[in-house]
């Protein structure tokens, strides 16, 4: 496996889901991404996100990409 590339991107998916009282499973069913992959995203283990996945998440949660991802301070 190639070495991890450090980054400071934080995924706020769990906060957005909590605000909307939605479960990860419900979001997965709605956007057609597996729970496993969404869990990877939610638990900060994702290394890359497809634009199509990001579009689907923003549409389902009625939010902007900047709501889903933030840059942690250095």
């Amino acid at each position: 496996m190639p070495p991890e590339e450090p980054h400071r991107i934080i995924c706020r998916l769990d906060e957005l889901l909590a605000e909307r009282d939605m479960t990860l499973t419900a979001l997965a069913d709605r956007i057609g991404v597996t729970v496993v992959n969404l869990s990877v995203l939610k638990n900060q283990r994702a290394r890359a996100v497809r634009f199509s996945t990001l579009t689907a998440i923003c549409e389902a949660l009625d939010c902007q990409p900047g709501d889903v991802f933030t840059l942690a301070p250095a």
């Binding site: 190639p2 597996t34 496993v36 992959n37 290394r47 890359a48 497809r50 996945t53």
Partner: protein, 201 residues
Amino acid sequence: MPRTFGRTDYAATRLMLGIAVALPPAVTIGLPLLGWAKGEPLGWSGQVGHEQDLPASLAAAGPGAELTWDGTANLTLAEPDAVDRLVALLPGAAGSLLVAAGALLLLGFVRRVQDGAPFAPGSVRVLRTLAGLVVAGAILVPLLDMVADNRLVGAALTEGAEPPVSATFGFGWFLLAVLLLVLAEAFDRGVRLADDVEGLV
């Protein structure tokens, strides 16, 4: 993640592989053992070690054609002993057990494909093991055939007659093993590519 096989296709594939696991040993081991238990005569087809022109009384050759008999005889031993029976069983048993082992490996491989993760180290190991099984069969089965031929044809010939000692190895099987190893290397590259996109959502 979408399944790669449709439900019916997946079930049919698993059924065919399951049949490949169970049927060859049942035929090559089960049926001969049943015949043994019933005390049936032992049939065998083997080389008597001679090749000769086919007499015209059996089959007349047309113009420009030659007909020879390669020495294959169908023999029946009315009262084979236990060693005769076991020796007759060995080539088919070895071949069918190797086929069953290969089919079992493929069941796991197909499940991995169905789960959407075909490029896993386990898949590479399956393909390399399949190549090993093919080579093992390509060497072992002809050798066991030779042993059986020698024993059973010898038992069927009159005293003093020399039973043949020869094995025929099929080049095609070794070529198949090489192709499986090439496929394993391709899957190994695939494992590394899959690693590169690990964590891609």
